[in-house]
């Protein structure tokens, strides 16, 4: 029973961790593929005030009490040049963001035009891979081509090569659908339209500057430190993906910890079962323990014998639990499930990470060693003379 408990406890621990971290990793890949690892957004200016230290005194104390934000990046080329001096930066891309009305097929719908430099943007996102209809080449060839989100296209009955009208600030411009993309993030797929940067400037009447610069790094984990360093250097607000997606990351983290705690109770119950079993064995084997002691086996020898029993169960349980987990995780990854909203997947997403296996083994080891140690110590404390004398009468 204890062996079975350890097998299933270790197995379920790994399976739940593979699932939760699998979905988390997939979510991170998705949001990095859409919104990048960091963004340089608004420029800020510290507003300084000063006050007299004492009435009538010439001595003044400066107060840094607020920051004034100026929307967007005014000189994107200079800022991108500066960003590229950081060794961890692999690519940057300017983006103009705005609001517009999309009119097509006698329908209209609010949308968010994103003006991009296609070549540069493909280096800071997975947009190329997210095209499900049409082609990226036709977008690159046509200065009035647009890439439109799958949900928005569906709502407006638009397909590649269809014509549409974008209306902003009282001005309309006709475009042609070059491709339809699907990120899996509902908010993006139902409102985002990618245009060429120059076309967006015309549409939004913004001849200079950009809304933000999207940045790719050689390691996503470096983003928070990078953002903290870059912000003061550029006097622009720089946001890492970890800060931007803090809420979702916390949800995944809580889910992972919660499932680990829940499943660990199976191992804990197995440990209690093992404790009871060992106590019963010790009661049953009292005479044998006394005989071993009379033949010269020390208290620590007796402790080791019973600890060894626990460790054998642990060893078997962990190995079989790992095998069970690996087989189940593989099976689960083939299970069809359609998810859209924060990412797009048509099957369970799992993360193969050996650290899950090590954690499961570590938790099982702690519980089994504790569950074995106390009965083993009780066995070692038996006084052989009293036991043998009791058996002889």
């Amino acid at each position: 029973m204890s062996l079975g408990g350890i097998i299933f406890g270790v197995g379920f621990f790994i399976i739940t961790q593979a699932q939760t971290s699998g979905f988390e990793q997939f979510f991170i890949r998705t949001i990095l593929g859409v919104n990048g690892m960091a963004r340089v957004e608004d420029r800020y200016q510290s507003t300084m005030r000063s006050m007299e230290a004492e009435e009538g005194s010439n001595f003044r104390v400066s107060l840094e009490d607020s920051v004034k934000y100026i929307s967007g990046v005014e000189y994107p080329e200079q800022i991108m040049d500066a960003i590229h001096r950081f060794p961890e930066v692999t690519a940057t891309a300017p983006v103009i963001r705005g609001s517009a009305m999309l009119i097509a097929n006698f329908k209209d719908q609010d949308c968010k035009p994103y003006g991009i430099d296609a070549e540069k943007h493909f280096q800071v996102s997975d947009l190329e891979l997210q095209i499900i209809y049409g082609s990226i080449e036709s977008f690159q060839k046509n200065p009035y081509g647009v890439l439109i989100g799958e949900r928005l296209a569906s709502r407006m009955n638009l397909m590649p090569n269809d014509s549409l009208l974008l209306q902003a600030r009282g001005k309309s411009q006709r475009y042609r659908v070059a491709g339809i993309f699907e990120t899996g993030i509902e908010q993006v797929d139902k409102e985002r339209v990618y245009l060429h940067l120059s076309a967006t400037r015309t549409l939004l009447q913004r001849p200079n500057g950009v809304s933000f610069i999207q940045i790719n790094l050689d390691d996503p984990a470096k983003a928070p430190v990078f953002a903290d360093r870059l912000g003061p250097v550029l006097s622009h607000s720089v946001m890492s993906w970890q800060r931007r997606e803090k809420t979702w990351l916390q949800v995944f983290s809580v889910l992972r910890i919660s499932s680990a705690l829940t499943v660990s109770t199976i191992i804990l119950i197995s440990g209690l079962g093992m404790f009871n079993t060992l106590v019963m064995i010790i009661i049953d084997k009292t005479r044998e323990i006394a005989i071993l002691r009379s033949m010269g086996y020390t208290r620590s020898d007796i402790t080791q014998i019973f600890m060894l029993q626990g460790i054998l169960v642990l060893f078997g349980g962990v190995i079989l639990g790992w095998a069970f987990a690996a087989a189940s995780t593989y099976g689960l990854s083939k299970l069809p499930i359609r998810i859209r909203g924060i990412f797009a997947t048509d099957s369970f997403v799992v993360n193969w990470d050996f650290s899950h296996y090590l954690w499961a083994a570590a938790i099982a080891s702690i519980i089994v060693v504790i569950a074995s140690y106390f009965p083993a110590r009780r066995a070692a404390r038996l006084e052989p003379g009293a036991v043998i004398r009791g058996s002889s009468t």
Binding site: R287, E288, A290, I291, L292, R293, S294, M295, G296, Y297, T298, R299, S300, D301, E383, P384, G385, I388, R389, S391, S392
Partner: protein
């Protein structure tokens, strides 16, 4: 012949409070190698209590025990246990074999702890001991597949495994029929004379006791030399 066991003024109290009994009173004795000794007396006379003290399975309240030239009074539990492994062999009324092990495996248990011999040597010694108790053909039988007499003979072989200086037996024939009792006693007596270890037996059986070289009668905790 040399003295392998010596006690002086051993006293032992058993029980607590009103039930406290003075089980051993100033017991002094000596045992020599190659000699057989019987401790006889009625139930409650203190003979088993004395045997467990001699076997270092219990501690006296006062007095000294010297085994193979070593004073045992101030030894740690581990040191006493090591001395038990090396110098003492036990045969109890019940054989106390480990039933999941074969006869040969039971005999090698004390040898494994002593660590003096390699696996092959332990098996050879075990077979030799089984031969000396007439059970060489039952070496691979599990403990519970042997008769009562056979189990007790395996227990004797096990007690001799580490060539102890002293062989202690608590009613070794008490659980056997007359024929088997005779056979076991003869075996123990012959082995002790042959191997030169001191054999000390507690027994109710006066016939067997009279066949020992020395008899120590006990009464109310006193040993009458």
């Amino acid at each position: 012949m040399s003295i392998v066991l010596k006690t002086e003024k051993l006293n032992r109290f058993l029980g607590e409070g009103a039930n406290r009994v003075h089980a051993l009173r100033d017991v002094s004795l000596e045992a020599e190698s190659g000699q057989t000794y019987a401790i006889v007396g009625h139930s409650g006379s203190g003979k088993s209590t004395l045997l467990y003290l001699l076997g270092l399975l219990d501690q006296p309240d006062s007095g000294t025990i010297e085994i193979a030239g070593k004073q045992t009074g101030k030894l740690s539990d581990d040191a006493r246990t090591a001395l038990r492994n090396e110098s003492l062999g036990f045969v109890f009324q019940f054989h106390f074999l480990i039933k999941e092990f074969t006869a040969l495996e039971n005999i090698t248990i004390p040898m494994r702890k002593l660590g003096r011999w390699k696996e092959r040597e332990m098996n050879e010694r075990g077979m030799s001991l089984l031969e000396s108790v007439g059970l060489e053909d039952k070496a691979r039988r599990l403990g519970n597949q042997l008769s009562g007499g056979e189990q007790q003979r395996v227990a004797i072989a096990r007690a001799l495994a580490n060539e102890p200086a002293i062989l202690l037996a608590d009613e070794p024939t008490g659980n056997l029929d007359h024929k088997n009792a005779d056979r076991v006693f003869d075996l123990l007596s012959a082995i002790s004379h042959e191997r030169g270890n001191a054999f000390i037996m507690v027994s109710h059986n006066p016939e067997l006791a009279q066949r020992c070289d020395v008899v120590f009668p006990m009464e109310d905790g006193f040993l009458k030399a």
